[in-house]
């Protein structure tokens, strides 16, 4: 009871029966007393009225955003080549950085006292807002009035896995729930036929932090992200074994359900209802997933907008799929694209990355807007940190990892459009104005979804945890 109590939180107490207690709990009276003393957890959206943990729930205040699409540019794109225009840095190209700048600074690979490297691409102002964007992002330049660019992001970690975990879970260490898990825990799901939290990956490799980036941590496991593959079977083992017809499959599942229900009646273990639900979800997904993945249903002009080609896995296909998922009520979609880790060949490789992602990212914003979906869909774009203004030793144009300053953009779901927030110093090294730490981003994201980040909590190992833990300030300047 004490070690597993998180499994039963927010369930109707009647579903956790006396018989289950007597059968399964060897310990626990002391733990129950303690539980009483500590009182209710902060999240008070009410106990679950049914055995479905995804029943849509009411958050703390009226939400602006109902869904989130996070375009995670894993490997960390260079802010200096994309959003943070530093003409002064060009002047210092080939010189050493000032000593006071790099005092106590530790880089992942390079000696901080390495020569500065000027920006490699041209910038221009775009749209009504006059936002500065690099020539690498011609498509995004066309939608700058719909997005907010944040040039003053900062994080705590300077290596990929911990920084990606930081961005996705708010902690550098494994084991915390990811933001998608928190959001579905808080809001439930609008989709009966698809998982509430779906993950796609494209590019050269998967994210460095692996499944932990979409894990549920100590939240009930139903809230973890489900990874869809872009080629072959989108969900492994979802298809029925070959030769099995639908009636046999349905008959077998009905038997499993009836037998599980008998056991549930006997024990009252709510995890059995979770399993019954997930079998039923899987059965519905046998029909809904092939339908979802069939991009040939999209008109040619929409596929062209994204640059998507059915049957040819790409970031563009994933962006279009993300829109289709949100349309079908999926709460949280995360698309990973690796890798932006340009320690060398920055010019060559960042060009390639931008070519693979720019058109589709901008298309997603446009497409959502045209359909009236941008209003309540929050789109986030960004990596786990930035890149150093110093050159990576031994390369002509590489940049090392840099946590002090980096850029992101976001759109829709209550984000103020057409603004650029924050400033960095003349090297793009430190934030000088309107710093947005990853925790602040999380607090803002939860606010847009209707939550006070300090109140969306889950009790685990004796204390209440939150996505922002003990940190985070809502960034009001980003709110529409």
């Amino acid at each position: 009871m004490n070690s597993q109590n998180q499994l039963y939180e927010r369930h109707d107490p009647q579903s956790v029966s006396r018989r289950w207690f007597l059968q399964q709990c060897g310990v626990g009276v002391g733990a129950i007393a303690l539980e009483e003393l500590l009182g209710e957890a902060g999240f008070s959206a009410g106990t679950l009225s049914s055995d479905n943990p995804f029943t849509p729930r009411t958050p703390h205040h009226a939400p602006k955003a109902k869904n989130v699409i996070f375009l995670f540019m894993a490997g960390a794109p260079s802010h200096l080549e994309l959003f943070d225009h530093k003409p002064q840095l060009a002047k210092f190209d080939g010189t050493l950085p000032p000593e006071e700048l790099i005092k106590d600074y530790r880089a992942a690979f390079i000696n901080p006292s390495s020569k500065l490297l000027g920006p490699k691409f041209k910038f221009a102002r775009h749209g009504q807002s006059g936002a500065q964007v690099s020539e690498l992002l011609p498509h995004l330049s066309g939608v700058v009035d719909d997005i907010a660019i944040v040039k003053s992001m900062s994080t705590d970690a300077f290596n990929h896995a911990p920084a990606q975990l930081m961005m996705t879970t708010g902690s550098q260490q494994f084991g915390r729930p990811s933001m998608g898990a928190w959001v579905t825990y808080g809001l439930g799901s609008e989709s009966q036929d698809l998982p509430a939290f779906v993950v796609f990956s494209s590019g050269k490799k998967g994210p460095s932090c692996g499944n932990s980036c979409w894990g549920s941590g100590f939240l009930p496991t139903v809230y973890q992200g489900v990874q869809f593959r872009s080629s072959g079977d989108p969900v492994l083992y979802l298809s029925s074994p070959s030769g099995m017809d639908e009636e046999l499959q349905r008959d077998s599942l009905d038997s499993i359900r009836r037998l599980n229900e008998m056991h549930l009646d006997l024990t009252g273990d709510p995890e059995i209802s979770t399993r019954i639900n997930s079998f039923e979800m899987a059965f519905r997904m046998q029909a809904s997933v092939p339908e979802l993945m069939d991009l040939s249903q999209e008109p040619q002009h929409v596929r062209d907008l994204y640059g998507a080609e059915p049957g040819k896995p790409s970031f563009a296909n994933n962006c279009l799929l993300a829109r289709r998922l949100v349309e079908r009520g999926v709460r949280f979609v995360q698309l990973y694209h690796e890798s932006w880790d340009q320690h060398s060949f920055l010019v060559r490789d960042i060009k390639k990355n931008c070519k693979e992602t720019d058109q589709a990212s901008a298309a997603l914003v446009q497409d959502l807007k045209q359909r009236g979906m941008l209003e309540n869909t929050l789109v986030l774009w960004g990596g786990e940190f930035g890149r150093t203004p110093m050159v990576q030793a031994g390369t002509e144009d590489g940049r090392d990892h840099h946590p002090n300053a980096f850029s992101m953009w976001m759109a829709g779901g209550g984000i103020k459009p057409g603004i650029t927030l924050g400033e960095t110093d003349e090297f793009g090294f430190n934030v000088t104005q309107d710093e947005v730490h990853v925790h602040d981003l999380h607090a803002t994201l939860l606010h847009l979804l209707g939550f006070d980040h300090k109140k969306l909590t889950h009790r685990f190992q004796g204390r209440d945890f939150r996505l922002t833990d003990v940190h985070g300030n809502r960034v009001d300047k980003l709110l529409a």
Partner: protein, 104 residues
């Protein structure tokens, strides 16, 4: 699926002469206890329904029972492919029960 096919074969070879005995055997192998009356009925009904469908040719028994040639030659003399396939269905259900999968 392969595990269900193997369990079905083992059940037909070692589980006894009647479906009732075989069910007890397969159930105990998965859940280390005897089925109660409701569970027994549920699973025997499933077996009968699927035997019927297989016999009527809705599904090819070897598609369900497995393509492995060894399975075919190991089938006890009096057992039919339809029986093996129907038992595979029952074994698959047993192996997917919450009680089989979870320790608690």
């Amino acid at each position: 699926m392969e595990a269900a096919q193997a369990l079905a074969l083992k059940t037909l070879r070692e589980g006894g002469a009647s479906d009732n005995e075989r069910l007890t055997y397969a159930f105990r192998r998965c859940l280390t206890r005897l089925p109660d009356q409701g569970e027994r009925e549920e699973l025997l009904n499933l077996l009968a329904r699927q035997e019927g469908r297989l016999a009527e040719g809705w599904v090819n028994p070897w598609d369900i029972a497995g393509f492995d040639q060894k399975l075919r030659s190991n089938l006890p003399g009096d057992a039919t492919p339809v029986q093996l396939a129907a038992w595979t269905t029952v074994a698959r259900v047993l192996l997917n029960l919450d009680e089989t999968i979870t320790k608690e």
